[in-house]
Symmetry: D2
Subunit: 357 residues, 4 copies
């Protein structure tokens, strides 16, 4: 696999399988001296953790990272920072039947082809959504660093099934357990989730992320621009099938005169009148809000019977997935999107080349 990311300044290693001894991450390249507040980190991780509400899997994991190294007296010490989370609440037998009957929409089949039967199939192995927990540990740490620089990264549920949140983003979503701007839309989304669950089905959705406070001049085009980097990291999150920045796909239907963001002066600062670019021009930040949306497919694990092919007998069979599964992972994906975006951005900020002087 290729689960070590080498960025401009940061390197991130994510390891573990759904049912291995532990999962974890190593983050290398952070400057020494960055304060890490474990309480604040835990609060961030709790937003992703399952089993805390009515719309996610009842599997309960503490997701309490143990820091093995890289911190000294509450600050980064310059050495690689490693944290692990033990896997406790694993129920291997749930998955025994799936070894030879790949679940539609999952990586069971592609892993079998690629890893020749040696892959860890239990709980999806390294492909499990559980691996977003270490991603959130890394993200939670750099989010604290960014916050000290006046940068906030905030995401919300923009859509679930056919329910859309208000179009205008509001940072007030940060405090909400179910992060939508409109509480009414949020209630309808939760109902859509409950309905799907009751019918043994699942729903997908869209997460929108807004990053404020990033100065102009961040990003390394052509291949490591802000969009390249965020996209590369976002597709590491299971179930992500699309990403768009600013007006995104809607820009395809616009005229240039509509879509172009004219420059203006505001309090003596160069700003743009609109933000269809999502804060990024030529792969480089322009000082406006960075805005992007990520599409999540519906959770593939559903209890409704599905057809599959038995890899041993090579015959078609009907599969009924049991076990504990989220009918919708979108609400829990909100902090994951923030984490991945924060890692991408921190990397570009820390590694940013400046003009010579």
């Amino acid at each position: 696999m290729s689960s070590i990311f080498s960025g401009t300044a940061l390197r991130l290693s994510v390891f573990g399988q759904s049912h291995s001894e532990a999962i974890g991450m190593t983050l290398d390249g952070l400057p020494a001296g960055i304060p890490v507040d474990p309480e604040e980190l835990q609060g961030f991780l709790n937003r992703r953790a399952p089993g805390q509400n009515d719309w996610s899997t009842p599997r309960r994991e503490e997701d309490r990272p143990e820091f093995l190294c890289g911190l000294k007296d509450g600050r980064t010490c310059g050495a690689p920072l490693t944290a692990v989370i033990r896997n406790h609440n694993t129920r291997g037998k749930d998955y025994e039947q799936l070894r030879i009957l790949p679940r539609p929409g999952h990586a069971d089949y592609t892993a079998q082809v690629k890893y020749g039967g040696f892959q860890d199939y239990q709980g999806g192995g390294h492909f499990s959504g559980r691996l977003t927990a270490p991603l959130c540990v890394a993200g939670g740490i750099v989010l604290q660093m960014l916050k000290r620089q006046g940068i906030t990264v905030r995401a919300r549920v923009l859509r679930i099934a056919d329910v859309e949140d208000e179009s205008a983003f509001a940072s007030s979503v940060a405090e909400k357990q179910f992060p939508t701007v409109s509480d009414e839309a949020g209630l309808r989304m939760r109902k859509a989730i409950s309905d799907a669950r009751r019918e043994g089905d699942s729903v997908g959705g869209i997460v929108e992320c807004v990053i404020r406070g990033v100065p102009a001049g961040i990003g390394e085009p052509m291949f490591d621009g802000v969009e390249n980097r965020i996209a590369q990291l976002m597709f590491a999150v299971p179930a992500v099938k699309g990403i768009e920045f600013g007006a995104g796909f809607a820009a395809a239907g616009m005229r240039g005169s509509e879509n172009n963001d004219e420059f203006c002066l505001s309090d003596g600062q160069i700003r743009t009148r609109s933000n269809h670019a999502g804060g990024i021009l030529g792969g480089i930040t322009d000082g406006e809000e960075i805005v992007f949306r990520t599409a999540f497919k519906p959770t593939p694990s559903i209890s409704r019977p599905q057809r599959s092919v038995n890899l041993e007998t090579m015959r078609e069979e009907t599969l009924a997935i049991t076990g504990r599964h989220d009918p919708c992972i979108v609400p829990r994906a909100v902090p994951v999107v923030e984490a991945a975006a924060a890692i991408a951005l921190s990397d570009l900020i820390l590694g940013g080349k400046k003009a010579w002087n």
Copy 2:
């Protein structure tokens, strides 16, 4: 900048500015012995070249690459392959006025902030769409390699302005000058482009790419899966603002029971009944067609007056862009999308780790 891409097996360096002596590329990591047919390559490059029809800029460039090294007797020799294209038809004076008055929607302003005034602003410098020519040289070469392995990469214009092509892809688009499945839709798209041009405006669109013949098992998750890799390269193409794989954003509105692609047997092979996954599960190919769509914003260079800020006087001014510009870059972007996808895929195929035996 970061215009050297380091993949799993391939490294690609893209260099040049719109008005520098030359632009070009170096591709390293190709096995020795791959045949390169220069005629076929030129045919591919001509699909991107400007000035050959009524919907693009009248600036005419030959885009005829000179190979400096890396080939011997028509085959790769294992050493880095470098090709350059001389810049001839440059009209520097067109851009003099733009030095201090950044064009909305362009990287003029962000480059100024990042490179402190040292950037080459002429014609957009390294940010120019002209830099997609060397990308196509690299892509055209690996496309030939892929074709010998039975892999075809084909894109089409799915949408321009508010005109959509037929939903079903057909490989017959390959032969068409204006690559849409429906010729009638193509005609309406061309009209939308002409209308925009006449009004001093521009339009955007969507390119859809379909890759056939890729075996199951290609891709290196988490960070170098097929989607991560294609997305990272696609955002190196100017004007791209979004990408989605398979059902993409539409999957957000589906139920799991709809979106999941059930496995079935076809001629003794494991296949899927539908292809909402776009041929990719867990970042790894499943043997179905790889399908993705890329959103292009409307060309930012329009002749209609726009507001901007003079960087010297720090006052708002009105800007009128003259010079030669495509009212829509989407048709010319079709081979560029194919090139970027082919590079991403070749890299993962060449560098693919297999199970041990």
Copy 3:
């Protein structure tokens, strides 16, 4: 820091500090299905472990790695492989005095400058020789893989202080506790170590490594040839100050007619009559033994009084290092050299590009 290595096929993350909760490593990019024998691995690690004889520090650590993930039923499963070793026998108070009085020959001072006082100074932190334990875990695993391919990596103590081993290498050193070809030279080396220890001093030495069974054609010049890669990894080992391949520095005094290895036929195979090249021509293996030598400086931690500068008072002071230290790390470095070489070679073998066919 930069403690994640990204090779051609493998990625290696080494983490931990001398006195952190744990040290460990993550190895990513190994094919699935490689058998890992934990007994054999432990035997390899024991060769590096301290406190097992009269020539090393009495600090006793079990160096028993716990595998957190990446293995299934005794084989690699394709996912990143992570192993950690808990730090138990730590005596933090030994180092309190050193916080402001940097030890000559150590990284105490350079770490202070670079990490601004936030570094973990205890026991040398991430710079400690203890970090070679996770390097040996990674190396021990790939050594097993190489052995199955008929490749052996064997090192010996070639020199300690002024005592030299026999010039001709013999693989019989593999079974010896003190790995020299000549037992008599080994005894004299051990005496040199004892003498140094008794006098509160230390000695350095040279380790020679011989790799057999590597086929011709491995290595990726210019920048990832066999020599580049082995050298890059070898200088990650504390105390290494030089490396030479084949005749090495002695080649500087030779004539071309002496140094060139003429090609000949042996059992129908192309071989060379001599091996001054150390098995590498143009960065690529030629099928002969790979031979290189690594110079280790004497352990900087000595109990004899030394002068240093107090970083708080900015006055010169005399420093007396107490605590437990090896008077010579060279014997324990032998498996470390094997490990680093095995990682370098495995990476190039797994990632090797072949000619096209």
Copy 4:
């Protein structure tokens, strides 16, 4: 191959073959605004160019780089900087006989195995020493940048055959055509070269490099420390077979009390009394001179008859190399060593992580 180097901040692509249309390099990641003086660069390149004296090959090449892009008004513009040198004085027929009869000490045989006969064998192809010209273009540019920061990189011939220069380095070598401290030793070295040439043979030697003005705190251990990085780049230079830093191999014979560099105060600055470490502790600079030595094997191309194996008939044959070859490449390697060291150092300085504040 792997002829694109990805460092901490810089990426360097070196391309071309001895007899291809051109050779060249792309350097990416330099900040915008760095002045490049072409005269000064040419002066540097002339130190490497052949045919200018009595000790090198009479093949004359201008080695006058054409900059294709990356510069604007004499300064870097932030975009990749590409320069090419055309190959003119090529005599392909010299090499026809070598296609099937590999030269001892050259990469002819290993290239044949690796690239399956598709390699460019003429003049050694990509393995030719001629490829050090683009390395010197890149090095010459960053040397100018370093000089503006008060950093000088100076190398000298320390040894040729059995003739040694004075042990103490003196920066006066910079002005000399034959860079030795002792002119008398230089004369004897030139005689050793002439003797070898007359006898149809060649000699090797050692180049010593001294870097002054580097502040403490540069280098990214474990894998990208100063030694790792310099070593990785130095082994990209043909004929290099060894490298040592500071006391190097001699440290192996020292006691710790001898080898350790005690800290002291000098003009209120922390310095060391000696410099056996060669300015590097734990992979990080300590503010002292960086000192290293590189061993070059004798030029493998000699006119004396040598035995080889005909790859077509698979019979041993006698080979007599004709054509133009340096009897000793060491004097011309002096600027190459400076170039490679300057690239390594610039990369670490530009990409250097600092403590957080």
